[in-house]
């Protein structure tokens, strides 16, 4: 039975740029260590955020969210843990798969997360990008495997556009996913209307 959506009555709070000075508040040294410690199936997903001139974006935040290998979307707490001594960051517990990662780009615009492969029916990381100069965040998806025909999103895109959403397997086994904010090979960015 279709759920009747409640009538939206509360006007939303607009977004604002993350600005240049989030660096002492949002990054977490374990933010991208999504896979449990020593897990044999761990994969590395990484890339560069580029602007319309092809220049790296050194002040971006890339967040990822995904299903667990068993298909669960429940997640778990502890993606950005803090210690109770001085409130500083502490490592993740090394055991729980939280499904969420936060990676800030380095001076070369590069980011990376180490995670577990998402399941075959949702073979992607949901990606949210923030940056200085970006007034409102952007959503995209990094597909770690090409699901072939039948994917609601990819089926509607022409080959070149579709290509921007498929991570490239590197000789070293990592998955490369560059994010182009603008330009010729601009990444496909997503919008999720109320459904």
């Amino acid at each position: 039975m279709a759920q009747q959506l409640p009538t939206p009555e509360h006007p939303l709070t607009p977004a604002q740029t993350i600005g240049p000075f989030f660096g002492y508040a949002l990054p977490h040294p374990a933010g991208g260590d999504i896979a449990p410690v020593g897990h044999p199936d761990a994969v590395t997903v990484h890339g560069t955020v580029l602007d319309g001139a092809g220049q790296p974006v050194p002040d971006a935040v890339v967040e990822t969210w995904q299903a667990a290998p068993d298909g669960s979307l429940d997640g778990a707490p502890g993606s950005l843990p803090r210690n109770g001594v001085d409130g500083g960051p502490r490592p993740r517990n090394g055991v729980d798969f939280t499904g969420f990662g936060r990676a800030c780009t380095d001076a070369a615009g590069h980011w990376s997360v180490r995670t577990l492969p998402p399941p075959a029916d949702r073979p992607y990381l949901a990606v949210c990008v923030f940056a200085r100069g970006l007034t409102h965040h952007l959503f995209t998806r990094a597909y770690l495997t090409d699901p072939g025909p039948g994917d609601l999103l990819l089926d509607d895109l022409d080959a070149a556009r579709r290509d921007t959403l498929i991570a490239r397997r590197q000789p070293d086994g990592t998955h490369r996913f560059d994010i182009r904010l603008q330009g010729e090979k601009e990444t496909v960015f997503l919008d999720f209307p109320e459904q």
């Binding site: 959506l5 409640p6 939206p8 009555e9 509360h10 006007p11 939303l12 709070t13 607009p14 977004a15 604002q16 740029t17 993350i18 600005g19 240049p20 000075f21 989030f22 660096g23 002492y24 508040a25 949002l26 602007d51 001139a53 969210w65 299903a67 979307l73 429940d74 997640g75 778990a76 707490p77 502890g78 803090r82 210690n83 109770g84 409130g87 939280t98 969420f100 949702r122 992607y124 949901a126 949210c128 940056a131 100069g133 007034t135 409102h136 952007l138 959503f139 609601l152 999103l153 895109l157 904010l181 603008q182 601009e186 496909v188 960015f189 997503l190 919008d191 999720f192 209307p193 459904q195």
Partner: protein
């Protein structure tokens, strides 16, 4: 004898140039007649947006199975008791005007967003960030870092104790100053509800000059970024109180049978 402020060299972008662009963008928005609550990603008066916005339309995805309709969860390990009081993170008291900022986080239907992570960061009372790249010649405060977090309560409420941040200069154009603001980062029950925004203080004379606030071209939407001073939230001989409610956009997680 006082030293004259440096005059801007020819060819430098002035506040008047930016004012004209802000007015033009607002006029274009009104002429278009299509309500838009969020800022346009292509907003020329904010110069850094020029090469950092997509030029292709967003692809609308209606996928009831999308992972994005669920989102990360946070818990006791992601925050500590001191995180919500930014005035107690060092040995001494920070300089500045002690304030509390309180409000509720709701979804579009008015349902409270409970148990979710809320992060804030801000400049100190002098308008200086504890960040190497902030070279504004205002003092750092050894007793203030300016970063905090909390989990929202069952009714969606949150509360921070901090000091009022100062305005600060930036290099968008000559004589560019940001109005005082606190940066907010919020999670909802779905990844699609993610929000990063800024809270402003009522009556700030810098509002009209600031291309970041003005990037929200809808005036009613822009006003929703400004907190209200609420005297009942002030505490005698201690702090001044502000209220700021936040409404998250985006499809919320579908209610399951167990939830009512």
């Amino acid at each position: 004898m006082s030293t004259a402020p440096p005059s801007s060299p020819a060819g430098v972008l002035t506040q008047q140039d930016i004012d004209r662009e802000i007015a033009a963008a607002r006029k274009a928005y009104q002429a278009e007649g299509v309500p838009r609550q969020h800022p346009a990603r292509d907003y020329p008066p904010y110069r850094s947006s020029t090469l950092r916005h997509p030029t292709r339309a967003l692809v609308s995805l209606r996928d009831p199975e999308a992972a994005e309709l669920r989102g990360p969860v946070f818990g006791a390990t992601d925050v500590t008791d001191l995180d919500a009081d930014l005035t107690r993170q060092h040995h001494g008291e920070p300089l500045g005007e002690r304030i509390t900022v309180t409000g509720r986080v709701l979804d579009r239907a008015g349902r409270p967003v409970a148990g979710q992570l809320l992060e804030i960061w801000q400049a100190n009372a002098s308008g200086r960030y504890a960040h190497q790249r902030d070279q504004h010649r205002a003092p750092l405060d050894p007793n203030f870092t300016g970063s905090g977090r909390c989990l929202t309560a069952a009714d969606g409420s949150y509360s921070f104790t901090t000091i009022k941040p100062g305005p600060y200069p930036w290099r968008n154009h000559d004589n560019a100053w940001r109005p005082a603001h606190i940066h907010f980062s919020l999670f909802g029950t779905a990844f699609t509800q993610r929000l990063v925004t800024q809270m402003y203080f009522p009556g700030d004379p810098l509002f009209r000059y600031d291309p970041i606030l003005q990037s929200v071209t809808d005036s009613a939407a822009r006003e929703r970024l400004v907190a209200a001073y609420e005297h009942d939230l002030s505490r005698s001989e201690w702090s001044l109180g502000y209220r700021w409610d936040i409404v998250l956009d985006g499809p919320a997680a579908t209610l399951t049978e167990e939830e009512h």
